[in-house]
């Protein structure tokens, strides 16, 4: 069943930049059922990595492991210089307390499929809230930053609206601005356009493209193969909790070598 050979191909882009995410043999189980069977994965600073794969293959689970929303059960996961969830001291991994975990997550932004904007806050409050409450930024500084971010995602005129007054595409752009407000070193996207009506997908993708162009490091779980082809430095195909194939988009998407990758791509393309 799981005879897929794990290819140890380093990403084609052999940059000298340090890896910001490095996963080696990451395993994760839910109630004894293992869903990640040993994931190998690397992202370097400034890279965009897209994760594709069928529903239930473990894409979201792996993404959530990266910022510690899920705890791994085996293997090694080093993100932004830390073993996620632990401090290595005297040859032992000491578990983080909630405060240390929070400090780690401040450096990693996440954008969810269902947007998850805070329902009791306006768009502007959604963006500024973490800057004020978590980074202890002054209200004035946070307001200026919020105005700038909302402008970047094209929503200046909607700053005072509550989430339920915004379209899905607008909500997702606010969510991106909210994540950016923390000045993250790494931005995670979990199918950011899957909950959107087709005509709203492009406005979110174009914001993500311009983010990528600024050199933001991004890990994007997506079904938008066109986006992956255009923006990604590396594409990873995940199947049943294993990385089956990875490489630059022109190789993986245009000339997949694995039968499973070919089968998956023929379905979604």
């Amino acid at each position: 069943m799981r005879a897929v050979s794990r290819r140890r191909v380093e990403p084609a882009l052999e940059s000298s930049a340090d890896p910001i995410v490095m996963a080696r043999g990451v395993r994760k189980s839910f109630d004894r059922a293992e869903v990640l069977h040993g994931i190998d994965f690397t992202v370097r600073s400034g890279e965009v990595s897209c994760i594709i794969g069928a529903s239930g293959s473990g894409k979201s689970t792996f993404l959530r492991c990266i910022n510690g929303l899920e705890r791994i059960d085996g293997g090694e996961l080093v993100v932004a210089g830390s073993h996620v969830g632990y401090t290595l001291r005297e040859g032992r991994l000491h578990e983080w307390n909630p405060r240390e975990m929070a400090r780690f997550r401040q450096r990693i932004g996440m954008v969810f499929q269902q947007f998850n904007l805070f329902g009791h806050m306006t768009a502007a409050e959604n963006v500024s809230c973490a800057a004020v409450k978590v980074r202890r930024m002054s209200k004035a500084a946070a307001a200026a930053r919020t105005a700038k971010l909302l402008d970047e995602v094209g929503l200046s005129s909607h700053a005072g609206k509550y989430p339920h007054q915004l379209s899905g595409g607008q909500q997702q752009r606010v969510a991106i601005a909210r994540a950016l407000a923390m000045d993250p070193e790494l931005l995670l996207f979990d199918e950011p356009t899957s909950a959107l009506d087709p005509e709203l997908v492009d406005e979110v993708l174009s914001v993500m493209k311009s983010l990528a162009a600024t050199g933001m490091t991004m890990v994007v779980v997506t079904h938008e193969i066109g986006f992956a082809r255009e923006v990604a430095d590396t594409v990873v195909y995940l199947d049943d909790g294993l990385v089956v194939e990875w490489g630059p988009p022109q190789q993986l998407i245009t000339n997949p070598t694995h039968a499973r990758t070919q089968a998956f791509l023929s379905k979604v393309l």
């Binding site: 910022n67 929303l69 909630p98 405060r99 929070a102 400090r103 780690f104 997550r105 401040q106 450096r107 990693i108 932004g109 996440m110 969810f112 269902q114 998850n116 904007l117 805070f118 329902g119 009791h120 806050m121 306006t122 809230c129 973490a130 409450k133 978590v134 509550y162 339920h164 007054q165 969510a175 909210r178 994540a179 923390m182």
Partner: protein, 312 residues
């Protein structure tokens, strides 16, 4: 098939001819009939009570603003407010304990809720009032040293304080379950987004979850408060001086039971009316942000629609 049926049923064939026709509204005869019926019953009841030789309305008027009644109203309001504040604060703490992953705190909260919901308030009030039987003095200090403060229990546990504590601790058990339901009704996505932004679990609770839970919590807590206004009448057992106790003291001496019960009821109704208005205002205030627009309009128009409900 369907088209044929429609043509069969239609009595006339309408055509858009661009003209404005006057509209004849449907007459709601049933509504008129029911309204008239209830109005008649109400008028009859009012007439019977107003003319009854056994009710002295002059005395009702006389006692309505009697000093003992007014001071009773004041005590009832104070007691209800303070007990509700105690109940709410403790209720939030208990709710958070109850859903915590620590089995000891969760178990303690469950035990508290079981105990205080499971015993009569009356018994709890008497227990607090008689705390001196078990703890003759209350002291606050550092164990093993003589430093600290100490009070006679009986001087602290006045009727009012025992009542406030008893009612507050009792309400906390009920409020805890309400708050817990409110917290759990806030989607998991909100919590995850808060954590992903780098909030600590306590920031997530205070900044994101509780404010959104309020919308769900306010109506039942309003209920509890209105119920509390009347539960305060139980404090007669601890020598309270609330509205009901004071009213009963008066009728026990002058025998005008019905008149004083009417006086008390009028005051309870007035307090409940004020509380209801406050609840509506709070609901609007906290519902605004999170309510979908359609139901928000419904809330606003529900008042005006009540007047137009009768149809034309």
């Amino acid at each position: 098939m369907i088209a044929v049926i429609v043509l069969d049923v239609g009595e006339t064939t309408a055509e858009a001819d661009g003209r404005e026709y006057p509209v004849v509204h449907l007459k709601h005869w049933g509504r008129w009939f029911v309204a008239a019926l209830f109005l008649a019953i109400f008028c009859w009841l009012a007439y019977v009570y107003a003319t009854s030789p056994n009710i002295s309305w002059g005395q009702v008027g006389h006692y309505l603003f009697f000093p003992a009644i007014l001071s009773g109203v004041k005590v009832t309001i104070e007691l209800s407010l303070e007990a509700t504040v105690i109940g709410l604060v403790l209720g939030v703490v208990l709710a958070v304990m109850r859903i915590s992953r620590n089995p000891v705190t969760a178990g303690l909260a469950a035990l508290y809720i079981w105990f205080f919901r499971g015993t009569p308030v009356l018994v709890q009030l008497i227990f607090w009032y008689n705390l001196a039987l078990v703890f003759p003095t209350l002291s606050l200090g550092i164990p093993g040293t003589s430093a600290g403060l100490s009070w006679q229990t009986n001087s602290v546990m006045t009727g009012f304080n025992a009542a406030m504590l008893g009612l507050g601790l009792n309400l906390a058990a009920y409020a805890a379950e309400t708050v817990r339901a409110g917290i759990q009704a806030v989607g998991a996505g909100q919590s995850e987004a808060a954590l992903a932004l780098g909030m600590t679990p306590s920031q997530r609770m205070r900044v994101i979850v509780l404010p959104q839970a309020l919308r769900i919590i306010i109506p039942p807590i309003g209920n509890e408060f209105i119920s509390m206004l009347k539960t305060t009448s139980l404090v007669y057992v601890v020598a309270g001086t609330d509205l009901m106790t004071n009213a009963s003291h008066i009728y026990l001496t002058n025998g005008e039971v019905i008149e004083l019960l009417i006086v008390a009821s009028l005051w309870y109704l007035a307090m409940t009316a004020v509380a209801t208005v406050l609840q509506t205002i709070l609901e609007r205030r906290f519902g605004e942000a999170t309510q979908p627009r359609s139901s928000r309009l419904k809330l606003k128009s529900s008042l005006s629609s009540a007047s137009s409900l009768m149809g034309r």
